[in-house]
Amino acid sequence: MFEARLTQGKIFKQLIEALKDLVQDANIDCSEDELSIQAMDSSHVSLVQVNLQAGGFDHFRCDRTISLGFNSTNMSKILKCAGNDDVITLKAEDTADALTLMFESPGQDRIADFELKLMDIDAEPLGIPDTEYQCTIRMPSGEFQRIIRDLQVLGDTCVISCTKEGVRFSVSGDLGTGNVLLRNNAAEKEEDQVIIEMEEPVELTFALRYLNFFTKATSLGGSVILSMSPEVPVVVEYPIEEFGHIKYYLAPKIDDDA
């Protein structure tokens, strides 16, 4: 038996919105102490990883680990039926072929429940190796979203380079070029700060299309953390306060002829 109740149902809605454009089918893996999702997009260029700690739910019960395979578009359709202030409860029997989603309005005067059919997803268990990153950049998530949106006007490939000077996002395309440089900024409000920690300068190239998908998670938190090292995927992490995170990994573009 699995049961999880979340007063801030909005978070779950936003999470599914944040991954539905990237992955079609994924498993929700539930264990005694957490709920997690890990899936790659269909072209295997990016990976999304969600982690919600049991302690962040109002009630969390999972007798034995289970995997609930779902289609993200269908899940999203059902979650559209939940109000932003609703309490969301997820329920599944151990051998269930459906996931029950219950939406309760704040005044408890409206209770809706839906069943989403589950599916078997053959996911190869892949682990993400631990990496010591050379650069980590923490910035307001809205700022990151804006940069990605702006750069997409000019091209489809973006170079992110982190140096002593700051972090630079560059694009070049048929109509011209664009650069956005962010410097360390110790603003008063933590959410407005830009904090760059760097061991060695790093420069990596990425497809903007995917970075744009990642910014769908902007509403989940005020900050985003980018972690980079040479020749490995960038991690774009949106921490969800006192609850967990959604992390996106994006494989870099590497010039074959170099």
């Binding site: 790659m40 072209s43 295997h44 260029v45 990016s46 990976l47 053959d122 190869e124 268990p125 892949l126 682990g127 993400i128 190796p129 489809d156 190239t205 497809a207 299309r209 020749e231 490995v232 995927p233 990994y249 494989a251 870099p252 573009k253 590497i254 010039d255 074959d256 002829d257």
Partner: protein
């Protein structure tokens, strides 16, 4: 991306190995269909009965050129017989061609050293890179190396350590190899410039480089009506070589097909020349694929960076593939789940 060669039988003795090597490295295209040949020498007895383990090295030659094949060389021997292995290996690029040739002869003449040669013809490389779903050069290189290791394993040699000159990121490549050959207990050393630091790699680089030079120099064009202007005077085949440049300019005689299949059509200089001097062709279907995004050969995949944690599903050794009718194999006809 799937591997092209599942196995290759070793030669019965050194004489046969040298003869086949001679065949492979002269006079145009050898090999079935699009895939170039792989040659595995006879297996030295000392490698089959090795007490202190077999070491193996892999290196490539001709990655950058716009003309001619890329070759992959592999050399292996038992640590017991280290004394009998010819001395003097260092990075084959630093050796002059005479020294290399004499080292190559000494490899062939050394009964305790086994070798493998895999030739990826220009046509194989460019066909793969220009497929609807590009199969990039790094992946082709990785698979060529894995095919060679597999062939040596299949011949009954227990490999202790494999030294490999890296292609792409050393760590990711090493992890890929460890994943592929899990259970064989091979130590993989994957480094930049491994050919300069490890004797097996260095020997492998001699095999690769000498063969590549020989194939390139003695190339016989398979196109019946093609008579090269300037003969085979294309130098090293590197785009930066003035001889190669001049040859490329002089030989764009066919305005539709542009170059013989000795050229790598997927290379920048080749594409540029075709665009400028060939007949302009518009491919309607090429403009956009289903996602409205063109595949990018430089885009790496996440799989390269991940570690397999659970048991591998569909272990290749357990799934026996039904042999296909040759016609289908050669024409690359296969069942597809979706229509592209």
């Amino acid at each position: 991306m799937k591997r092209v060669l599942s196995s290759s039988k070793p030669c019965s003795d050194r004489e046969e190995a040298c003869k086949r090597l001679e065949q492979v490295s002269s006079g145009g295209r050898v090999g079935q269909g699009q895939t170039g040949p792989m040659l595995l020498s006879d297996i030295p007895k000392s490698c089959l009965e090795s007490k202190s383990g077999v070491v193996l090295g892999i290196d490539e030659a001709g990655r950058g050129p716009v003309l001619g094949p890329m070759t992959y060389g592999c050399a292996f021997w038992s640590r017991d017989e280290e004394d009998l292995i010819p001395k003097g290996f260092t990075d084959s690029k630093q050796l002059d061609s005479n020294t290399r040739s004499s080292l190559f002869s000494s490899i062939q003449g050394c009964p305790d050293m086994g070798f493998v040669l895999r030739v990826l013809h220009a046509s194989e490389i460019s066909n793969n890179m220009l497929r609807a779903e590009p199969y990039n050069l790094n992946a082709q290189s990785h698979n060529a190396a894995m095919d060679m290791i597999q062939a040596v394993l299949d011949a009954g040699v227990k490999i202790d350590t494999a030294y490999i000159d890296t292609v792409g990121m050393p760590d990711a490549y090493r992890m890929k190899l460890e994943r592929e050959f899990r259970g064989h207990d091979i130590t993989f050393v994957v480094e930049k410039k491994a050919d300069a630091n490890y004797a097996p790699c260095s020997a492998a680089s001699v095999v690769a480089k000498v063969s590549r030079d020989s194939i390139t120099e003695s190339w016989e064009f398979s196109e019946p009506d093609f008579e090269p202007v300037n003969g085979n005077n294309y130098g090293s085949g590197y785009p930066s070589d003035p001889k190669c440049k001049a040859w490329m300019e002089a030989n764009l005689t066919d305005k539709v097909f542009c170059y013989p299949d000795f050229a790598r059509f997927s290379w920048g200089p080749c594409r540029q020349a075709i665009k400028e001097n060939g007949v302009k062709v518009t491919w309607k279907a090429e403009e956009e694929d289903a996602n409205g995004e063109k595949e990018d050969a430089n885009q790496t995949k996440m799989n390269m960076f991940l570690q397999s944690v659970g048991p591998k599903k569909n272990d290749a050794s357990q799934v026996k593939k039904r042999k296909r009718v040759e016609f289908f194999e050669r024409s690359k006809l296969r069942v597809v789940a979706r229509v592209v």
